[in-house]
């Protein structure tokens, strides 16, 4: 099995603050991987580096064998932790936008998911509630047939019902050969869907393992292990 994402001695620093320090990481294809760590641990910095939103201070990061750039962006479907949509657009215009820039975008899938949620595609995004906009954004991201889905805090700040919908949407819509990297600190909610996990603390990878291995060998859930590892 080849790797979809690789980091070699990856370092990112903002002035004197080291956000990521000497990260060596390999994420295989076809897995759902949790990127787990407390706030400020470097999760979002790592994700931004993979998405091409930041440039490393030193070291390397590759996605699908390419350094962040046009080729890597073609195969990444990225859901940031905030709303990135142009509110003046209608949902239909947004579908057209994604269709124009991502050849792997499945318009029918997006329309189908929107219809099931009773979201009127003719409506402007600014007329939708915050929760509905988050769902529209998730639908756009999951309607792509990408090789790497990067989801930054997809279930943070939403009610339990919405949380279930989001996880259901992620699990039932991703391309099975693809990798999903989910960043969160709400481990209990996503543990059941994870294959592997990566613990990140103070900008360093402290553990990478499969969920089953931890359960079999240590008899613990990832959530319990996380609480031990990151005990205040």
């Amino acid at each position: 099995m080849s790797n979809i994402l690789e980091c070699k001695n990856l370092r990112k620093q903002y002035g004197k603050l080291v956000a990521l320090n000497d990260i060596n990481l390999e994420l295989p294809e076809g897995k759902i991987i949790g990127l787990l760590g407390p706030n400020g641990s470097g999760k979002t910095t790592l994700i931004k580096l993979a998405s091409g939103l930041l440039v490393p201070s030193s070291g390397q990061i590759t996605v699908g064998g390419n350094a962040p750039g046009i080729e890597s962006k073609k195969i990444i479907s990225y859901l940031p932790e905030r709303n990135y949509l142009d509110n003046t657009m209608t949902v239909n215009q947004l579908i057209g936008f994604f269709g124009d820039f991502y050849p792997d975008f499945n318009k029918n899938k997006a329309v189908d998911m929107l219809t099931r949620l009773n979201i009127d595609s003719a409506r402007k995004l600014k007329t939708l509630s915050k929760g509905t906009k988050e769902k529209v954004q998730l639908i756009m991201v999951m309607s792509r047939n990408a090789k790497l889905y990067i989801l930054d805090e997809p279930i943070g700040g939403v009610d339990p019902a919405a949380r279930d919908y989001i996880l259901e949407t992620i699990i039932s819509n991703y391309n099975e050969d693809a990798t999903i990297l989910i960043s969160t600190h709400l481990i209990a909610d996503i543990e059941s869907v994870l294959d592997d996990f990566v613990f990140i603390k103070n900008g360093e990878i402290v553990m990478q393992s499969s969920v089953d291995k931890i359960r079999d060998e240590q008899g613990k859930s990832v959530d319990a292990l996380f609480r031990e590892e990151f005990k205040c």
């Binding site: 440039v55 080729e71 962006k73």
Partner: protein, 279 residues
């Protein structure tokens, strides 16, 4: 991808700028109607005095509103297009735009092309609107004379500048376009510099960057013009006051502005590529 980006950019900008321009056309028609009705002295005299006063009052108020509206359209067009560049790349929308599989230069060029297109549309609408308001039976002849004088001046200038009439007209249009492009790219660069090195004071730093860039370009322009005036023979240097001198000033200004544009593009492209750090 540049074509697709430009298409979406023009449409997105049009969501505000198109209704604004349509509103200006509508305002011009209302203004024209008010001018027409207030010019009908016999009609107003035949109506009750209060009605005539109201019509004249509305007409006066509308004139003030119309002038303000004209300025608002011109300022809002530039401001809106510059703010769109900022919003699209340096706020939350950047998470979408900067992760599209396109080159940063394409993002900048699409914004620039859209800015040129909408500037041409807005300025044309403003020009037509003013012409519509000012053109009456009484002013028709004056307009014709003005236009004829303008053409005559160009015909006189062309041989003095050692170019044909057509080349002179083309030169004026190209020069105007280069100036518009230079201005927009300067705003884009200022925003990028302000954001890249501004931290939480990105907007203030963008304004500071704009002032600094303007001072630097003024110094460079003055230096080049002064240097050439010393280096070139008198009959073509910029201070000799001849048509040749005007032509050499225009050409030098065009080349200088094109060099500034290239520098702005390279700087903005590099900053978007390497220095963006969205909150």
């Amino acid at each position: 991808m540049l074509g697709k980006l430009t298409k979406h950019e023009i449409i997105a900008s049009g969501r505000l700028l198109l209704p604004m321009n349509i509103a200006l056309i509508f305002a011009s028609l209302v203004g024209k109607f008010l001018i027409w009705i207030t010019s009908k002295k016999a009609f107003l005299d035949s109506t009750p005095i209060a009605f005539a006063k109201i019509v004249r009052g509305i007409s006066s108020l509308f004139t003030i509103f119309y002038i303000l509206f004209i300025f608002a359209v011109l300022i809002a067009t530039v401001l809106f297009l510059v703010i769109r560049f900022y919003k699209n790349h340096y706020t939350d929308e950047g998470y979408l735009m900067l992760t599209l599989p396109v080159k940063p230069i394409s993002l900048i060029l699409s914004k620039l092309i859209s800015a040129i297109v909408w500037s041409i549309i807005s300025f044309s609408v403003v020009f037509c609107s003013i012409a519509l308001i000012l053109r009456t039976d009484e002013t028709k002849e004056s307009f014709k004379t003005l236009y004829a004088e303008f053409l005559k001046t160009l015909h006189r200038m062309a041989p003095e500048m050692n170019v044909s009439f057509g080349v002179l007209v083309a030169e004026i249009i190209v020069f105007a376009m280069i100036l518009v492009i230079t201005k927009y790219l300067m705003y884009f660069t200022s925003i990028s510099v302000g954001h890249s090195y501004g931290g939480k004071n990105a907007i203030i730093n963008s304004i500071v960057a704009l002032i600094v860039i303007q001072i630097i370009t003024q110094i460079i322009s003055s230096g080049v013009i002064f240097g050439l005036s010393r280096a070139l023979p008198n009959h073509i240097n910029t201070f000799s006051g001849s048509g040749h001198a005007l032509q050499s000033t225009v050409i030098v200004s065009m080349i200088l502005n094109l060099l500034f544009c290239t520098a702005y593009l390279l700087i903005t492209n590099n900053l978007i590529k390497t220095k963006v750090n969205l909150d």
